[in-house]
């Protein structure tokens, strides 16, 4: 999209000095989220010099390569799958688009360790699939799932919903008039898709891809169960077997360096242009693309995807649940842990949404090199393994803030540090879709800055902010490593229940808390997927 003179003016005007309280709030939030980095530097430099030999050790280069390949593959898979699904269910006449649209988002609620366990239960060497095939076909061996393939499938399951949900929302909110104009000017549907649709959804795809890549960098559950050694798994193994925290801290700093590369790539991908529309947009749903004879094949492909990523885990969990009941009789619902999960996840979602706002406004409305860097910095901790975040807060909490150590407050703080980028992704993309002119008009009519924020910006951005908060809610429901180390004694969540049972191999006993976690998280996915069905950004 070429820049109009109006847009250039807008840009110049947004470079005004930001109000001091806004800058102070954003700097404080980002500063607090960087505590884990401070801890890592303290640890990395307090050990002996020989600890640094971890960098030159045999296998470290290979480790970096393996990690890079895993993250790149998972991100590409998540983008391809997420964008294709989003386009099919929002813009085509695929049968059952409403139902498929919801089902495709649901794997987001399955923790990666549960997904990996379930995939192993289904596709492992003697899993359910092999047992099914052994009877009628006498098949004794199926292709090995351990290692790279298993890690990619499990992580794609956990990450493509980020791309899918953000892209689908962008497609729904996009002004259909743009595509119609393109078509009326004689562009083919394909050209319209690549020249108009893709640029419109690019920020959403980039934000989703970034969350997917950071997730793959930080994940421990799936890679450890699948026996694939990524940098995060190496960091955990270092902590678990050597007790020397210095080499682990050095490896974690390497992980931070990888994160910087990922962030730079994402920043490059979104460099161009404005993404908001100038007018209110056409208040009607877009015209659907007719798939013609591809309608049913497309339906089949989407259904298969949903069956693999949602049906398989649910089937395996159901099978385990059935085994638990046959072994031990009726089970008791985990009410206490369920309330623990819901309460902390809700509080973390609200706190993260509030904490993300000043950063999003600063970076979106007063874009300078400084504010952009500030926003990027807030993404850093998201790529760190949970244990690093947890130990850093153990370090600061026990030594310098003992009154809050092992309280729910510190646990919530850990969640906000880990998942702030998800709240940021929601509020940033919502702000980007609002034309600053609307805010300026309100200022021009005499509203104060705070008044504009409360009466114009927030109401217009609310669905994006809510979506970001919902992502934080879902991630907190699944969070395990920081919860284990930082929770107040006696606090239980569904994730710690699952951990408690799987630690002693009682998978059947883990099925009920896992299914409860899925059931309690699912309604939030509905909020995420159905938002934007109305015309959100139109002034009321």
């Amino acid at each position: 999209m070429s820049e109009t003179p109006a847009a250039v003016r807008t840009r110049v005007r947004t470079r005004r000095r930001p109000p001091l309280p806004l800058t102070a709030a954003a700097v404080t939030v980002v500063g607090l989220t960087l505590l884990p980095l401070v801890y890592l530097v303290v640890r990395a430099t307090s050990g002996g010099r020989e600890a640094w030999s971890v960098l030159t050790r045999r296998g470290t280069a290979e480790l970096l390569l393996d990690t890079g390949v895993l993250v790149a593959t998972v991100t590409v898979a998540a983008v391809v799958l997420g964008v294709a699904l989003a386009w099919l269910v929002t813009r085509t006449d695929i049968p059952g688009r409403r139902t498929l649209g919801i089902a495709a988002a649901l794997p987001l609620v399955i923790p990666s360790y549960v997904a990996a366990l379930a995939l192993l239960g289904a596709f492992g060497p003697r899993g359910l699939l092999q047992q099914l095939l052994a009877g009628p076909f006498g098949i004794e061996r199926i292709p090995e799932i351990y290692g790279f393939p298993g890690a990619v499938v499990a992580l794609t399951l956990s990450t493509y919903p980020y791309v899918y949900i953000l892209t689908a929302a962008a497609l729904r909110n996009a002004d259909p008039a743009l595509e119609e104009a393109s078509a009326s000017l004689g562009r083919s549907p394909l050209a319209t898709f690549s020249r108009v649709t893709i640029p419109v959804v690019r920020p959403a795809v980039a934000a989703g891809a970034l969350l997917a890549a950071l997730y793959a960098l930080a994940d421990f559950g799936a890679v450890s169960l699948m026996q694939y050694t990524s940098l995060t798994r190496a960091i955990y193994l270092q902590y678990r077997s050597l007790f020397d925290r210095t080499p682990a801290a050095i490896l974690a700093l390497v992980l931070i360096a990888l994160t910087v590369i990922v962030l730079a790539l994402e920043a490059r991908s979104r460099r161009a242009g404005r993404y908001h529309t100038l007018g209110p947009g056409a208040a009607r749903p877009p015209r659907l693309v007719s798939l013609g004879r591809w309608r049913w094949p497309a339906f089949g492909a989407v259904t298969l995807t949903v069956l693999l990523f949602l049906g398989v885990p649910l089937t395996v969990l159901g099978y385990w649940l059935e085994r638990a009941i046959s072994l031990r009789g009726p089970l008791e619902l985990p009410w206490g842990p369920a309330l623990g999960s819901l309460g902390t996840a809700t509080a973390a979602a609200a706190a993260a949404a509030v904490a993300a706002l000043p950063i999003a406004i600063l970076a979106g409305r007063h874009r300078t090199r400084f504010t952009a860097t500030l926003e990027r910095l807030a993404y850093m901790p998201n790529a760190l393994p949970g244990i690093v975040i947890a130990l850093s807060l153990v370090f600061f909490g026990a030594r310098y803030a003992s009154p809050v150590y092992q309280t729910l407050g510190l646990l919530l703080f850990a969640y906000v540090v880990r998942f702030l980028p998800e709240a940021l992704a929601g509020s940033s993309s919502a702000l980007a879709a609002i034309d600053p002119k609307v805010e300026e008009a309100a200022r021009g009519l005499g509203r104060s800055r705070v008044g504009v924020l409360l009466t114009v910006t927030l109401p217009l951005a609310r669905s994006g902010i809510l979506a970001g908060a919902a992502l934080v809610f879902l991630s907190t429901m699944k969070e395990l490593p920081a919860t284990l180390l930082l929770r107040p004694i006696g606090f239980e969540s569904l994730a710690t229940e699952i951990w408690k049972e799987t630690a002693v191999g009682a998978y059947s006993q883990a099925a009920l808390p896992a299914l409860s976690l899925i059931a309690l998280s699912a309604p939030l996915v509905l909020v995420l997927v159905t938002r934007g069905r109305g015309i959100d950004t139109a002034p009321g």
């Binding site: 003697r126 678990r240 007790f243 809610f473 002693v504």
Partner: protein, 354 residues
């Protein structure tokens, strides 16, 4: 617009309601907990960091509370992660007692100077092979390295008396082991210390040539045995009992190795008291309880996983060979921690962990 606003408001209201409910219930729990605590004699509360699983040791804590009137608050977690936590907490650790899955985690905390020396009366309850030479931790239960096997695939008579024989091509593709697991690594360290680095490297290379299947932990090795994925697995003896909780009919048994075999390590789970403990008396009573006859009988009679009691005169679970008859490699458990780094390097070089 209107509809949308209603939807958002409803979602928010629902969220706030659940949050309030959860907070309310949490508060309620706390209140009842506090009442229970103050009802206890003296109101003493002991904080235990437990790397041992809640599913297994919770009854033990309950009987201590009942016997002494001292309330126990337990933080459960992975032994190594808790060891790292205590080290990061330093003097500010809220923990009074560290109850760990293995000697390595205890040794790591002892090395930071955060474990206090235990009274002789406690130490002497347990054979000196099963406690720290400097008296900073004491073993509370024993676990034996065994060769678990699938009874449909192999007869016990065909199994070797020594792990060294597993390099035989007969076992190609049939062995399972967990190379990143702490207990497996302790087993390799013990082997290195008893037969030397070169012999151990040759053995590891021989095993590697036999294309073993690698797993995350002991548990999955047992499951793979039950499924017939592998025929033999190098694991601790008690995982068999955990497997039977899940799959009562699994065709798996333990094969105990010959006495003195470099693979027949007897390792321990143990306990230590933190130097910063504010409840030293209660902590000491707790450790006393763990090595008392009652505390030890728990492993033989009650615990799901049938570990070995370490105090003389208390027989293990029926069907297990007596502890005296099991002779591991001649090494001190203290040495396992310091020897770990070289073991990890060796496992990495031979290609088990990379």
């Amino acid at each position: 617009m209107g509809r949308h606003r209603v939807k958002v408001a409803a979602a928010l209201a629902a969220l706030l309601a659940t949050a309030g409910l959860a907070a309310g219930c949490g508060g309620g729990d706390e209140a009842t907990q506090n009442e229970a605590t103050t009802a206890q004699e003296g109101g003493t509360t002991l904080t235990v960091y437990s790397g041992r699983e809640e599913e297994i040791v919770e009854p033990l804590f309950a009987s201590f509370e009942e016997a002494t009137g001292i309330a126990v608050e337990v933080r459960y977690g992975d032994s190594a992660e808790l060891a790292a936590t205590i080290a990061e907490e330093g003097d500010g650790s809220p923990a009074d007692v560290f109850f760990a899955q293995d000697a390595g985690a205890l040794g790591a905390v002892a090395a930071t100077g955060l474990l206090a020396e235990l009274p002789a009366g406690i130490l002497e309850r347990v054979d000196e092979r099963y406690r720290a030479s400097d008296g900073r931790w004491v073993g509370t239960s024993g676990r034996v390295r065994v060769l678990a096997y699938n009874t449909d695939a192999v007869a016990e008579d065909d199994l070797p008396g020594s792990v060294l024989e597993l390099t035989d091509p007969r076992w190609k593709g049939k062995i399972g082991l967990p190379p990143t697991n702490a207990s497996f690594q302790a087993f390799v360290t013990a082997m290195r210390l008893s037969i030397g680095d070169e012999e151990t490297r040759r053995w590891l290379e021989g095993i590697k040539a036999n294309e073993p299947k690698l797993y995350e932990k002991n548990g999955p090795v047992l499951e793979a045995l039950a499924a017939g994925e592998i025929e033999v697995g190098l694991v601790n003896h008690y995982y068999l009992y955990l497997l039977r909780e899940e799959q009562p009919d699994a065709p798996v048994e333990n094969h105990f190795l010959d006495p003195g075999d470099p693979g027949a390590l007897v390792n321990v789970a143990g306990v230590g008291i933190l130097t910063g403990s504010t409840e030293l008396d209660a902590a000491t009573r707790f450790v006393e309880f763990l090595v008392s006859d009652a505390g030890q009988r728990f492993y033989a009679e009650e615990a799901e996983e049938a570990e070995y009691p370490l105090v003389a005169g208390i027989a293990p679970r029926e069907g297990l060979p007596p502890l005296d008859s099991l002779v591991g490699p001649d090494i001190a458990l203290d040495e396992l921690g310091a020897g770990l780094e070289a073991t990890l390097e060796l496992l990495n070089e031979v290609g088990f962990t990379s």
